[in-house]
Symmetry: none
Subunit: 416 residues, 2 copies
């Protein structure tokens, strides 16, 4: 009898920045190859693996564009600039039609010459400073403002007739004067309006922040005041179809990257926070594992992102990358054991962050698929080189959800 | 001297639903891997193999969309909904501009409430019932109607100014009343006309069928009358360029799937019927082999589809799938022997139909190319796992005819 009724849930597990290059101090192995990963090796041996280009062959992507693609949304079609995702990532409400910007708290003099683009990498008091800007009304537009980590923040503009074709205000350079924004699209009244509001917002942020008690205190401590907000990375909120509808699943999102959390929320996934998740190599992967196991009780698709490999990659910390990969390996064992193996797992990265380079690169990530319905190839360990020999060959990020929903048994048929 | 003048004919042989997954009762092998296939193994050893995604990586396709792609027509561009292929598949004439629907004979009460969507899965008498509807003239439109298998039928509307944006009449639910069709495109007079004709056709089908002698007899036997025709799956006949012109060949089509036969006719291929072809595992593959050999006398491209592997896959019948694959192996030997090996062979599937799943899935099909001009790789047997190591790597259905016409020596050069 055909077991057509065998339907499995799926876990799409992302080791952020997983892919790497040969590391001399590891004898030419990558951190993934040097790590002791008995469970990932077993899954690769029992399933199939290959290489996956999140966005396209050779393309250096981000966590936002990478996750967009891995969830089946072509970032060349859907990526609206980083602003909206940044805002979503710190828990701001973003509605369709809003404009959003990433911002820095910066230090300027009274001629608006930039003295420090990051206001001395300010750590404390940004919540109060942000609150002083939040809700500013300029013409018929409301400006929502919220602090992120350190000197970072986000601005959401909500109001009628806003356009997105606007030049920068942040000169990206110390000693330069803050630029006046202008429309970059001839005759576009909406973008002219945005430029006007943006210039007014920047000016007002200086007026409000310069003598704010937090900055009075900072000056007294010899610290540069965070006396202006400089927006950049403008983006209009994207028209993304909800993930559950698009993929035919009921999904949860357990991720350590604010940007990706915001994306999950925007896509209508159930976003689950985990106590002990630190978004670094010291994160509590066992707690994340428990959250995944619990989410699989009432969801049939879980996206889980562990940020540590990317952090270690940026830090050039090969040992740290090995350590977090070994923690992920134990987490996968924990999940497989708790579910009796009755699930489909895909494990990969959203981009490569080689420890020898310290930033994202365009090489593909290794990917493995494992589960009761998954084909078996001849690969017996999990790593960049081994995966290059795998039965999956070389696929795109956009293919991953289709492969999963086929193995899950929930994909609609195209044709008869 | 280069043998530039060596031109070979090609056989594109499709084992319908060939691809599979590991089967526990076969010790983890797929049916293709478990089957005794000395000829296919030899061809794989002498030629090259790989994996082929008929429609796209991870995409669950049908026989119609799969064959469209394998013949080089992008189904995302050309697939018009199932109606036209269904009609073609049962031998109805479909012309450019016609609208076609799949239909069910159903049972309704006198308030047009659906009592049985399949009229008790009626087996006999549908030819007479269909004849009573065939040729109905409504306004300036002629309705052609023909029975298919069991409760299934097809409707072709031919006439001026018909539009395809029309809502359903089949409520897809017992206890619901037959719906009134309406145009789903604001201000589209052509679709309004189609909706009007469709509603009139459904009404007339009830008036004509309800007291038809076949139904009088069915009621006397306690069977539900097949007293209405409910169309669905509307499609406008697609604007497909003829295959011979597109591929630069003279082609024949020897296939066991009605849908694909219809496609071949529509594409202008010479469709050849085979006595003893049953579209199941008991089909006469030797007779099909003879037909292929004969067709190769006066065609340089033969598409041949053997349906059995798909039937066995749907039935969850691993032994049956092995048996029909072994028959295909002998048929290939027969064809190679009769032609002295002077041809190019591609053997693959139009989709996977794993016996453990019982329906189509999105995994790629193994594919092999063989012939005097074909490259050789390191693979020595034919099967899903072996093919994953092959020199063809992972290609798309759309690539197959191009590979064949290049090996045949008949492809036009693109460039100088």
């Amino acid at each position: 009898m055909a077991a057509h009724s065998d339907i499995y849930p799926a876990l799409l597990l992302i080791g952020d920045g997983l892919g790497d290059r040969a590391v001399p101090e590891l004898g030419g192995k990558t951190p993934l190859e040097a790590a002791n990963t008995p469970t990932l090796d077993r899954l690769a041996a029992e399933g199939e693996s290959g290489l996956m280009d999140p966005i396209g062959v050779g393309i250096r992507g981000g966590s936002d564009t990478g996750h967009l693609a891995l969830l089946g949304y072509d970032p060349y079609k859907y990526y609206p600039g980083r602003g909206p995702f940044e805002a979503l990532g710190i828990g701001m409400s973003v509605a369709r039609g809003d404009l959003a910007f990433r911002c820095n708290f910066s230090t300027v003099d009274d001629g608006l010459i930039v003295l420090d683009r990051r206001a001395g990498r300010i750590k404390d008091g940004t919540a109060e400073l942000a609150a002083a800007l939040n809700g500013l009304q300029i013409e018929d537009v409301t400006c929502y403002f919220k602090e992120s980590i350190a000197h970072r923040a986000a601005l959401v503009m909500r109001g009628p007739g806003l356009g997105e074709h606007v030049s920068d205000v942040d000169p990206h350079e110390v000693g330069a004067k803050v630029w006046e924004a202008h429309s970059t699209k001839e005759g576009d009244a909406a973008s002219e309006k945005t430029a006007r509001i943006l210039n007014a917002f920047v000016r007002k942020s200086y007026e409000i922040l310069d003598q704010h008690p937090i900055n009075v205190q900072r000056r007294a401590q010899g610290l540069p005041p965070a006396n202006i907000a400089l927006p950049r990375g403008i983006g209009v909120s994207p028209d993304l179809p909800p993930f559950n509808e698009k993929a035919g699943v009921k999904s949860a999102c357990i991720v350590e990257v604010g940007l990706v959390k915001g994306l999950g929320e925007y896509l209508g996934m159930d976003v689950i926070d985990v106590q002990g998740s630190t978004a670094s190599v010291d994160t509590d992967t066992e707690a994340i594992g428990r959250a995944v196991i619990e989410a699989l009780q009432d969801h049939n698709f879980v996206l889980c992102n562990v940020k540590g490999p990317d952090v270690a990659g940026h830090d050039g910390n090969a040992r740290g990358k090995i350590s977090i990969i070994e923690k992920i390996d134990r987490m996968v064992e924990q999940i497989v054991a708790a579910t009796g193996g009755k699930l489909i797992i895909a494990f990969t990265g959203d981009h490569s962050t080689p420890v020898t380079y310290g930033d994202h690169t365009g090489e593909p990530c290794p990917i493995l698929f494992w589960g009761p319905t998954v084909r078996k190839d001849l690969v017996t360990t999990f790593g960049e080189t081994a995966a290059s020999q795998g039965g999956v060959h070389r696929i795109r990020g956009l293919d991953v959800v289709n492969i999963l929903t086929s193995y899950m048994g929930v994909q609609e048929k195209f044709g008869a």
